[in-house]
Symmetry: C2
Subunit: 392 residues, 2 copies
């Protein structure tokens, strides 16, 4: 059963080395007062900051700034940015950074249009819908979350130890600037984490037992092959344009909604991971890398094996004449080899400082009090089992 | 070298069986007076016409109609529609049909905004740019041209025996309704022609010797595999939803600009084919099917063979350990088998009533007086040679 869906992603993407020259004109469409948001100082070191400011000034726009947006961005930053938008009468926000900066900026843009606390967008009791947001433009510096072409984001609340996603078409960036050279300075480790994140976005959609549209399965297999091919290249040769361009465009299309068209199943590894990084503040992609192969192992049985076979044969080129279960196990092994040997990511929870202390709490929150309806339905005890599989 | 590009395709697509309920609200966004355009009576026989009218009336909109748009649509229809838009003060156009109807309607929408003759958009001397157009919504009934999500079209002028393309972002449909069940009534022959058209759109982009983005090559290979897998199914089982849905969504993405991102080479088979259908009025997809394998044969040499190998191995699963030239010839043979045996399309010019009479004239016009800069540069004598290869 191929479900009905609406495809509607009106984001203008400026892709390539020589696109920043369009930034001033793009921002000017939305008004005069620009709030530039970013994280640490990396965009100053790389010179990107200066080039952005030059564009903004050159277009005769007024520049305001909010820096210091953290990885796993926090609701406090969102609150601060939303208040600045109100106080300074901001017309358009410009997020320069990776998914954390863009995610946080989306909710500043939405928070600027409401009177309530922005945490109300996430609070499981309130879940205040987002219907309006100020216009947002992004300049991407890390290929990972896909926030540059989707309408959602994830925010952490350290006080309540919560990390929740929220979304709305109102928060879709109006335009995003994707210059692969802006990712040349991303470290091998962050490149690996970003690549694991991209892989996870695809796997969460690809692995389900409802009937798929074959064309989109082919696209997802192509994207996984792209990540597997180029992530190690980008780690070895940080300024390999071909590798960075492929990773960047794949990160965007992995999660902008196109390949998920019409699928209604839950994602599984992301809610399990959000609980890890809410408590341990580890890098999202790293948490996903550890969880994903265990989750695949846990969900493998006679009812799900066909998808594993398709994955193994089409993505890793495993011999299609082998027994289905053999192909499936080999596919998981090949994925683990990619994540832990080629990307050199840590393989277990103890290696990243996670022990069993909070398993019950995290599992309960991951299932949202009930069930994750993904490839296999997961209840609290299933998630706890998967967490335990990550201990060795 | 991966070229810079701008991705900007803000078309809202309503995909699936139960989407027509959104038509009234969608049209209403653009005004009150709707010009409904269509071809022959097939949409009346299928009941689609009644459902569309019901939606328009239900939304309280005023309905005007222009029917009789022909295959290989003609400038006379465009002129008539543009004039109707002016006389009737039309707010939005609704094209219901295949590529011919949607193409013609695009130029009516543009023609409504200018004082000149719409043929001036195409006339090689004038080439009047299209900067404005009335809003356009489409309901697709044939998977082939991709007009539902692109900004261009092709119009014939029987008087001058010309058939030319033109395009402009202003003509991009605001929304398109893609219901695969609306293609259940497409005959096996028209399904075959449409599928050949889709294949050609992909092949025109895929086969070039500049460096590509690997991810997009994977997507194109996936789309070709999708057409090869499902076109014969749709011919055998016209109401196979899975087959029709895959063909429909592939037709759209084959040519909306996404996979061509940044590529600047000319298309080769399309200009060669447009001359055929300008004079002989044959079905576009059929002409492309006859030309494509000959063009691939003609362009195969040591400088181009790598792409043929990639095509043969990734699309047809040909043994990668064979010699490159052997793989290339086998790939062309497999493509011919698909087009002429599985799709059952005619294989030669004589079978479709084309002889050598106009070869010189057609070849001269196809190269636009100079060269087609595609996979291999083609001058007039090259095109004549390819035409001659189609004689047997």
């Amino acid at each position: 059963m191929i479900n009905d869906f609406i495809y509607d992603i009106p984001v203008r993407v400026y892709f390539g080395r020589d696109q920043l020259k369009n930034l001033g004109a793009e921002l000017k469409k939305y008004g005069k007062r620009v709030l530039l948001t970013y994280g640490g100082g990396s965009i100053k070191r790389s010179g990107l900051y200066d080039r952005v400011v030059e564009q903004i000034k050159g277009a005769g726009l007024e520049l305001f700034e909010l820096s210091g947006i953290e990885p796993n961005p926090r609701i406090d930053s969102v609150r601060k940015g939303a208040q600045m938008c109100k106080d300074l009468k901001i017309d358009v926000l410009l997020a320069v950074g990776g998914g954390s900066t863009i995610d946080a900026t989306k909710f500043m843009a939405a928070g600027a249009c409401v009177d309530c606390d922005p945490w109300d967008f996430f609070d499981r009791e309130k879940l205040t819908p987002i219907t309006r947001a100020l216009p947002l433009v992004s300049i991407l510096t890390l290929a990972a979350t896909g926030s540059e072409m989707d309408n959602c984001g994830v925010i952490s609340n350290l006080e309540t130890q919560d990390k929740y996603p929220a979304g709305s078409p109102a928060m879709l960036p109006r335009a995003s600037f994707l210059d692969p050279t802006n990712t040349f300075s991303v470290s091998p480790y962050q490149t690996a984490c970003g690549s694991a994140d991209i892989m996870s976005h695809i796997i969460e959609v690809y692995f389900n037992t409802s009937q798929d549209m074959y064309m989109l399965d082919c696209f997802m297999e192509g994207m996984m092959k792209t990540v597997i091919r180029y992530a190690p290249v980008a780690m070895r040769e940080p300024d390999n344009y071909e590798a960075r361009a492929n990773l960047m465009w794949t990160s965007t299309w992995a999660i902008n909604g196109f390949v998920a068209a019409g699928k209604r199943h839950d994602w599984s590894c992301h809610p399990m991971e959000h609980e890890l990084s809410a408590i341990y503040d580890i890098t999202h992609g790293l948490g996903l890398a550890i969880l994903t192969p265990r989750w695949l192992e846990y969900c493998l049985d006679e009812t799900t094996v066909d998808k594993y076979v398709q994955f193994g044969v089409n993505v890793f080129g495993i011999d299609a004449t082998l027994a289905p279960m053999e192909i499936a196990h080999e596919a998981i092994a090949r994925l683990s080899d990619f994540l832990f040997n080629q990307l050199k990511l840590k393989r277990t929870f103890p290696e990243v400082g996670i022990d069993e202390t909070h398993f019950a709490l995290m599992a309960r929150k991951a299932v949202g009090g009930d069930t994750i309806n993904g490839l296999k339905p997961l209840r609290q005890q299933d998630v706890e089992s998967i967490y335990r599989m990550c201990m060795k």
